[in-house]
Amino acid sequence: MREIRLAKKIILTLVKDRIQYTGRLIADSLSIFARCGILLILYWYVFRLNNGLVNGVTYITVAWSMFFYFTFSVLNLRNISREIMKDVQSGSVETLLSKPVSYFWYKIWWQIGSGLYPFLVIIIVGAIAMFSIVGIPDTMTLGIFLPTLFLVFIGAMILSLILYSIVGFMAFWIEDINPIFWMVDKMVMILGGSYLPVALFPSFMYKIALYSPFGASQFITHTVYDSWKTNWYILLLIQLFWIIVLGIVAYVIFLKARKRISVNGG
């Protein structure tokens, strides 16, 4: 109960804080337009050249898949790695670890809270714009779509936070985790279906995307494809598997990291 109260307090405080900074919302919107908006226009041109069909997939499906990827990225969950690194480098991790709240959970709630407001604004405005301009694929009209989207979204959040926390905990050993962060981040970017949607992957790459934690952390991009109708439970199980495995790994690393703490700050 105490944990839930703490989570609620952190998230609400950060949402209120973000509402005050319109500049950051503008920045997030510009960033989404730069990445997703321009990409959607380019794909529209590419699909027109290919008579509306590439690899048996229509433009509407690809557009929504990319929209989900980029909107999810607005939550900025990956930043948990750098936040942990900053705490380690500045030495403030010592203070945070001595508090009567779990450092790991505190970081997770903080990360969710700081990205929630721009995420909600962009997903609502973006979805309305996408619905009016592009339309919706048939899969989005199915009864299972919204419940499974919700489940896979929660799974993607948890898995992303665990994956990037593991990277962040590396800071206890090597301090500058940026090179590892870039590699993991780019694996997620490629296998998650960012600039190249998963439906356009060659078969070997599709398999890697399906069975690796990097691809599994972005399974929300799979929800709009026809295969989702029959495969959704398999993908949810894969996601659950990685959450359990990496969750245990993260917990063990965190316990070991606590023992290795070396404080630089004053």
């Binding site: 503008i26 590439v54 500058d176 090179p179």
Partner: protein, 264 residues
């Protein structure tokens, strides 16, 4: 002018020496960035494999595009990383110390910071351009064109970075706004150049010149068009001129918010 260049070179040398002190971190940053950049080549090459050749662009052109862009990015943000930190200096009041310096303000700010990972961008850019040269069976004139275009694309990248980060003098939450604007400029320059057609090509050439950094230089090397080369050269000097004007105007808007950071 010569004195300013000498100062810039001295500051860069000191920055590199200080960064190289942490050798493992320095090398990890350099190699990490090179691997990181490879992701864009993988993505766009598979894009071409999936959707076919668009606008005459093949995988070799993608390598060339990433080469131009990474090298321009690497040069500016390794030796002149201070430009990217401008919003931080302005919001923290750290800009005061630059204003008090007798050196050229822009040179002083640019050389105030060094980014080790941008060396990785530079190395990646060089590898890409050499690979590109092999893939297209480059002629002597094309090598000359690549070298000239590299200078132009670096100037354009520098000019746009100055303009974008100068916005930090006009906004309260300048860090977020300038990084959003920079993203808007940088992201299209990473994209497959052949798929920019019509109005999109016009916007990202003349209004926000993202395509002038990599896409148009690659197409110029392919076509060996003197007209295109001259146009890119002309635009690079126009943008540089505009950027200095904007920077000088923006500095006048600065109001100190000193947090006792003098000398830090």
């Amino acid at each position: 002018m010569l004195k300013e260049i000498k100062f810039a070179l001295y500051a860069i040398k000191k920055n590199i020496q200080s960064s190289a002190e942490l050798r493992t971190s320095f090398l990890m940053n350099v190699f990490g960035m090179m691997i990181n950049n490879s992701a864009f080549i993988i993505l766009w090459v598979y894009f071409i494999k999936s959707v076919g050749v668009i606008g005459g662009w093949n995988p070799a052109d993608i390598v060339g595009l990433q080469g131009f862009l990474a090298l321009a990015f690497g040069i500016i943000f390794s030796f002149g990383n201070g430009i990217r930190k401008l919003p931080e200096y302005v919001s923290s009041g750290g800009f005061d110390r630059f204003m008090l310096s007798p050196k050229n303000l822009l040179v002083r700010i640019a050389t105030a910071s060094f980014n080790a990972s941008a060396i990785g961008d530079m190395a990646f850019g060089i590898i890409c351009l050499v690979t590109y040269a092999f893939l297209i069976h480059v002629t002597f004139y094309q090598i000359i064109a690549i070298l000239i275009l590299l200078i132009f694309s670096t100037i354009i990248f520098l000019a746009l970075s100055i303009i974008i980060f100068s916005t930090s003098f006009f906004f309260m939450d300048s860090n977020a706004v300038s990084s959003g604007l920079f993203e808007l400029f940088l992201t299209p320059s990473l994209f497959h150049g052949g798929s920019f057609q019509g109005i999109m090509r016009f916007i990202f050439t003349f209004i926000l010149p993202s395509l002038l950094v990599g896409t148009l230089p690659v197409e110029t090397v392919k076509d060996m068009s003197i007209l295109k080369l001259s146009a890119i050269g002309l635009f690079s000097f126009i943008w540089m001129f505009i950027s200095i004007k904007i920077f000088n105007k923006a500095v006048k808007k600065y109001e100190s918010s000193n947090f006792m950071t003098f000398g830090n």
